[in-house]
């Protein structure tokens, strides 16, 4: 047993990777789905085991192939990435049962098995980025997840999916290139690719080569910002989310951007923050205006959008703004808010996109003007949408409220009450776009498109309801979300060379 426990970090990545390889040999969609579900279901077990181990015993260092770092690749699990591992694997595992009907409905029979193969590869990449302690290894996993997600998006029925995937490919490649340039610069000045090792040597190197160190941060920051769709680098996201197959949208929305945000946290707090004084670096100065612009501009874009998937995609950009705002605050409450919103937003957006997928499955459209009265014909689906939507707005008692509460406290602790006000003001815009959807769903006469729709089959309904329930549950029991996020924020801030404010 202990031998297995010692191999857990490796298994976290190897299981889905081998799963993807096996899935490539399967031709039948249903079998591939069963296989992918089985594989995905194993990943949260490993992730939870890791989280418990880290929670009680501190960080784990796992040497891939027995080669010690900094030469060999190190998988390093601390509280932050154990938390993200749990999030990614758990949300994926909850969503998987949903995939079968939705994918069968939206993707041609001969391509379904490939879809699951690509999905597993993407999951491998995301878990790999999260778990690895090696900067270049993270790049490799980033490419794995990116390439497979281009395929996932391109499989959408809509022909515009191809263009969206192409655009994402170009932009994603620019992002990955920037990242690898940044890693290269760091390697040049420190001679190491291991995160912890770079952090150790960066202080010294910075004294000798201040410019390359800063340039390295700039490339890493911009490269990762493209991946996490920081405003105004978000433009690939709405199309990609809108035209991808429903399941791919829900999966990517809940996990991909979150992993990119994790990487940003890692670069800022575990590398640069450990070696240098973060206050002298332009991280917050850049993040504040862009986060606030995202919160408002993307939210207003969502208000005027009639394609519900695009509406939620813009909403995602806005919500990412809240997370990066929490990062910019760099104090205990603010960072807790950012990290807990990473978790909560994954659940909320997952639920919302699954609800849209269910509506597309039954009614064949997600255009707002054609969905009059859908609340009456698909009661449970729309109820889940409303619940998750309330959580998105941050209604007290929901998960979204917890995030915003910590963010507001963080802003107040930082002495920036205008930002606290902006958080509340931008939340009101979410009320408008969610309210608009609710108005159409419940108060309009039943339209022809939805007249014969009904709630989706149980296999789709249950994951949706579970996520919707979770987006409320974590507003009441905040032990796993805010509790862990608080500890993570504490650890990150205490590791800084120049401690963050309170």
């Amino acid at each position: 047993m202990s031998a297995l426990t010692a191999q857990l970090p490796g298994l976290q990545v190897v299981i889905p990777l081998l799963g993807a390889v096996v899935a490539a040999f399967i031709r039948r969609g249903t079998i591939a789905w069963g296989w992918a579900t089985l594989i995905t279901a194993m990943t949260p077990i490993v992730a939870f085991a890791l989280l418990i181990q880290v929670w009680t015993g501190g960080p784990i260092s796992y040497h891939m192939g027995g080669w010690p770092p900094p030469i060999g690749i190190e998988y390093r699990v601390d509280l932050l990435n154990a938390f993200v591992l749990v999030l990614v694997s758990l949300v994926s595992a909850i969503m998987m049962p949903y995939a079968r009907r939705s994918v069968a409905h939206e993707i041609d029979g001969d391509k379904q098995a490939w879809f699951y193969c690509m999905y597993l590869l993407c999951l491998t990449g995301l878990l790999g980025i999260t778990i690895t302690g090696d900067a270049f290894n993270a790049f490799v996993f980033m490419e794995i997840s990116s390439l497979s997600s281009y395929v996932l998006i391109a499989m959408g029925r809509d022909r515009r999916a191809l263009v969206a995937a192409y655009q994402y490919l170009i932009i994603g490649t620019i992002g990955a290139t920037f990242y690898v340039v940044g890693v290269g610069l760091l390697y040049l000045v420190t001679g190491s690719l291991n995160f912890a090792d770079i952090a150790l040597r960066l202080g010294e190197a910075s004294a000798v080569y201040p410019r390359p160190v800063l340039a390295g941060l700039a490339f890493l920051f911009v490269g990762i910002s493209l991946k996490l769709a920081l405003f105004p680098l978000h433009v690939w996201l709405p199309n990609a989310y809108a035209y991808a197959p429903s399941f791919a949208t829900a999966f990517l929305a809940a996990t991909a951007t979150k992993v990119a945000i994790y990487l940003l946290l890692r670069v800022i707090f575990s590398i640069y923050g450990v070696a240098l004084d973060l206050k002298t670096l332009p991280v917050s100065a850049v993040l504040y205006p862009l986060s606030i612009a995202a919160m408002f501009i993307a939210s207003i874009l969502a208000v005027y959008e009639t394609n519900l998937k695009r509406m939620l995609a813009y909403s995602s950009v806005a919500q990412i703004g809240y997370i990066t705002l929490g990062i910019a605050l760099m104090n205990q409450a603010g960072l807790t808010g950012g990290i807990v919103h990473l978790f909560n937003h994954a659940l909320i957006k997952g639920a919302l996109f699954l609800a849209l997928g269910a509506i597309l499955y039954r009614a064949g459209t997600i255009k707002l003007e054609q969905l009059g009265g859908v609340g009456r014909t698909m009661p449970l689906t729309c109820a889940a949408f409303v619940v998750a939507g309330m959580s998105l707005m941050g209604v007290p008692g929901t998960a979204g409220f917890i995030s915003k509460y910590y963010l507001i406290v963080g802003a107040l602790n930082a002495g920036m009450w205008p930002i606290a006000f902006l958080i509340v003001a931008s939340s009101l815009i979410a009320l408008v776009y969610i309210g608009r959807a609710v108005e159409v769903a419940y108060f309009r006469p039943v339209s022809s498109a939805v007249a014969h729709a009904k709630d989706p089959p149980l296999l789709m309904l249950v994951p949706l309801l579970v996520l919707a329930f979770a987006s409320v549950y974590f507003g009441i029991d905040t032990e796993l979300s805010a509790g862990v996020a608080g500890r993570v924020a504490e650890t990150l801030l205490s590791g800084l060379k120049v401690g963050g404010a309170n």
Binding site: Q167, F178, P232, V235, N239, L281, L301, E305, A383, G397
Partner: protein
């Protein structure tokens, strides 16, 4: 812990509200009747020990029960059942669902052990009750808006007070407070807004009569009584409440005696009855608090009964003005009978629920030698006999109308609801021990002593005499010519009109100005944020690459300068 949270009376009613949206026909009727009964059963399942939860660092007690909470919880659930039964063939989903949410809010308030939980339910009540008023139709929109404003004002006062109280005491638990700091005064003010206290009391007579024939039953029960309940918990024995209560009692009395519209008359009667309770809370002795609890329980039932009667009359005749109604006893015998029982109860006639409860409060005032409170309370009791006990049933059901009215008793479900409420009034009056054992304090009180009965009968006899002598004067007039009323209606209206003319110009300019600005803003937003706007349309890949480079450059520039 989790079971009691998820299967509490409030959550069951919330689930019921959801179920009402998706059910029609017989299914809906089953839900309407079964859910409040289930909630009633669950009232006794609420744990009496504190169930605590930790929320953002505060220890919350989302649900806990004691004797007082059990009594109010049971009465509220019962009232929800009676209201639902009465509204059985009402088709408005919004009103019925809101009514259940409203009842859930009231039950949530009753079982809340801390201020934060209480506030959440409090606001749920405010929103749901506003929606019920809205369901009164086109004419209800103005009153509903004013109702919402008053309650959000009350909510803001309460929230500010709660925030201050928690900040100062460090604990969110609801305990008995003395108003000795500004947060506590704010809490008290917030509660009094909902209790119908001056100066905001007009919301009761403004909003309640605007609701539908079924909606007012729910409205008459929850908001004011829940406020009385929280006042009992938080501010027992605060002397200022005695005087506020007396002012309410007399104010309600005077206006009820002059009012022509039966539903407005009942709204004033509610304020008057609330005044007696608020005064009782101010007295604050165990006997007085027992009296308040008993009176609240009795008042919920008989007020609901009278409101149902008014609702039946409205539904069957389409009229609510006393001056246009009369002699309905022949055509609506059961409604008339129910009205008599309700009227006797509110008049505290022996053998009714009003007698066994109201006399406790008055007795408490006497025992404390509060003559200043005792006399107005007696006067209020006598007055209520006059306006609600005699005037309402007499002119509604017995006096000859100006023109013949075609009417009949309402449908079966409404008749059963009224009959049940009437039976409850009498049963409580005859066997008060069932109510007394549920009271919060152990006090031996015997209602049927010779002196109690005699005093009350004297009072009633005197009131009947006054009514007989003054019946012409009390006759409802379409254009009533009484002094006070004239001041209220005409001078006030004239002043208002003058003020109106003065402000109308400024207001129109302001509104059109805002409208113009809003339209411009909207156009600007669409240009930039619409699907085809600058930000909304899909950018070419090159533009995105440009912004990427731009951001990189900006980052480096800031870094170089920093």
């Amino acid at each position: 812990m989790t079971t009691s949270l998820f299967a509490s009376p409030a959550t069951v009613l919330l689930a019921g509200a959801l179920a009402l949206i998706f059910t029609r026909g017989m299914m809906r009727k089953a839900v309407l009747l079964a859910v409040p009964l289930l909630a009633l059963v669950l009232v006794w399942q609420v744990p009496t020990d504190s169930v605590t939860a930790n929320y953002l660092g505060y220890a919350l007690i989302p649900i806990r029960a004691d004797a007082l909470a059990l009594l109010f919880g049971a009465v509220f659930a019962l009232a929800a059942f009676l209201g639902a039964l009465f509204a059985l063939d009402r088709t408005s989903t919004l009103e019925l669902s809101s009514a259940f949410v409203y009842a859930a809010g009231a039950l949530g308030v009753v079982f809340a052990g801390d201020w934060i939980t209480l506030f959440v339910w409090w606001e749920i009540m405010a929103i749901a009750s506003t929606l019920i008023v809205v369901c009164g139709g086109e004419k209800a929109h103005g009153p509903a808006f004013r109702y919402a404003l008053v309650h959000f004002l009350g909510g803001v006062l309460l929230m500010a007070g709660i925030a201050g109280e928690i900040a100062m005491s460090g604990s969110a638990t609801i305990t008995s407070l003395k108003p000795d700091s500004w947060p506590r005064w704010l809490i008290l003010a917030g509660l009094l807004v909902n209790a119908g206290a001056p100066p905001f009391w007009a919301w009761v007579s403004d909003a309640y009569p605007a609701s539908s024939w079924s909606g007012m039953v729910f409205l008459s029960v929850f908001t004011t009584k829940a406020a009385a309940y929280v006042l009992m918990r938080a501010f027992p024995g605060v002397e200022i409440l005695v005087w506020i209560g007396l002012v309410m009692a007399i104010y309600g009395l005077v206006y009820a005696a002059l009012e022509n519209d039966i539903r407005r008359l009942l709204a004033f009667a509610i304020v008057s009855q609330m005044g007696i309770k608020v005064a009782g809370i101010g007295i604050g002795t165990p006997l007085a608090l027992n009296g308040v609890a008993a009176h609240a329980a009795a008042a919920v039932i008989y007020t609901a009964l009278l409101v149902m009667v008014a609702g039946s009359v409205l539904r069957q005749t389409g009229k609510t003005r006393l001056s246009e109604l009369g002699s309905l006893a022949h055509t609506m015998p059961l409604t008339a009978f129910a009205c008599m029982i309700g009227a006797l109860s509110i008049a505290a006639f022996p053998l009714t629920s009003g007698f066994v409860s109201k006399s406790m409060i008055i007795d408490a005032a006497a025992k404390q030698h509060l003559a200043g409170a005792w006399i107005p309370l007696m006067a209020a009791s006598a007055g209520v006999v006059l306006h609600a006990g005699l005037r309402l049933p007499w002119f509604l059901f017995f006096a000859a109308p100006r023109q013949r009215i075609m009417a009949s008793d309402p449908p079966q479900s409404m008749r059963i609801a009224m009959a049940l409420a009437a039976v409850l009034c009498v049963v409580i009056g005859i066997v008060p021990d069932g109510l007394y054992v549920m009271l919060p304090h152990q006090v031996a009180y015997v209602p049927y002593t010779a002196s109690h009965v005699l005093v009350q009968l004297q009072l009633l006899a005197f009131a009947v005499l006054v009514f007989y002598l003054m019946r012409e004067w009390l006759k409802p007039q379409p254009g009533i010519t009484l002094d006070l009323d004239w001041i209220y209606r005409h001078l006030g209206a004239r002043l208002a009109r003058g003020f109106d003319d003065l402000t109308a110009g400024a207001w129109t300019r302001l509104v059109s100005g805002i409208n113009g600005k809003a339209t411009k803003l909207h156009e600007l937003l669409v240009t930039h944020h619409g699907p085809a706007g600058t930000f909304g349309r899909t950018w070419p890949t090159g533009t995105m690459a440009f912004w990427t480079t731009f951001l990189l450059g900006a980052f480096l520039l800031i870094a170089a300068m920093g």
